[in-house]
Symmetry: C2
Subunit: 160 residues, 2 copies
């Protein structure tokens, strides 16, 4: 898949990919902006009104997501109005679905709302439930307790 | 599994589980503290020294993670020293492995470090690579494009 992100914007001193991702996502509003993008929001006013986020904060966070290639900014113009921008998920942005779903799933399980989950994940064709988990090379789920993280041996690898 | 989290601490007005989880995790230091906990850090000084985080920020974030049942605070005492606390992942905390792994995987793919990933996920017994993905009820991986999110019909559901 073509990489439309710009890895060079993250300092090389940050070797851990968790931390590299948080250079882009490490703020609560950013996750919520992305959530609305998955729900179909594309316009500044949609994000602002759906989230109740201050315009300067929204502008800043959208800028970061565009800068890193998670959203693409495309001009559009409605009749009689001035030209504006729409924000659309790039392929890299759409891959973040699994991150949002993992956050959602944990909240469903450990911080449940009294009325139950607000959203359900389903397999499109069958309507069967889908969840986020670890998967092995053979395409079968691997239990959480069977997964281990090991330093790759890359320069600067390891915890810290 | 016993829930050791305290869902009542999240306001009922927050219906989306992504947002509910971000009430606990919605800050960059929190993810990095959790990462160090997965790497085995348990003591205040370990988190502080490994992350270079200001003590007041660390104290605040550890407090939140304990409050919500992600970490458990246990007293310990070394000979001749005063009693201190160790912070250990609870079962709920360990389930966050999939969230951290999803963040890591996206960073590996879209914000790669010049030297490659610092950590690799492996199946413990076989050493085969493991990744994070969607899984259906039959335990088989489901492609990202085959997963859809639908409002559950619960009160207050939907993209607000």
């Amino acid at each position: 898949m073509a990489k439309n992100t710009d890895a060079a914007r993250v300092p090389d001193s940050v070797t851990c990919s968790i931390e590299r991702t948080l250079c882009v996502l490490g703020e609560r509003w950013t996750f919520l902006i992305l959530r609305q993008a998955f729900f179909g929001a594309t316009r500044f006013a949609e994000f602002r009104d759906q989230l109740g986020v201050a315009p300067d904060v929204l502008s800043d966070r959208l800028g970061t997501l565009v800068e890193f290639g998670v959203l693409a900014r495309e001009p559009y113009q409605e009749p009689g109005a001035r030209s504006r921008f729409a924000y659309r998920l790039t392929p890299a942005g759409r891959e973040l679905h699994v991150v949002l779903a993992a956050l959602q799933q944990w909240g469903d399980e450990y911080l449940p709302h009294p009325d139950g989950p607000s959203m359900l994940r389903r397999v499109r064709d069958t309507g069967q439930p889908a969840h986020v988990g670890f998967v092995g090379e053979d395409g079968h789920e691997v239990a959480l307790t069977d997964v281990t993280a090991i330093p790759s041996g890359a320069a600067g690898a390891g915890p810290s």
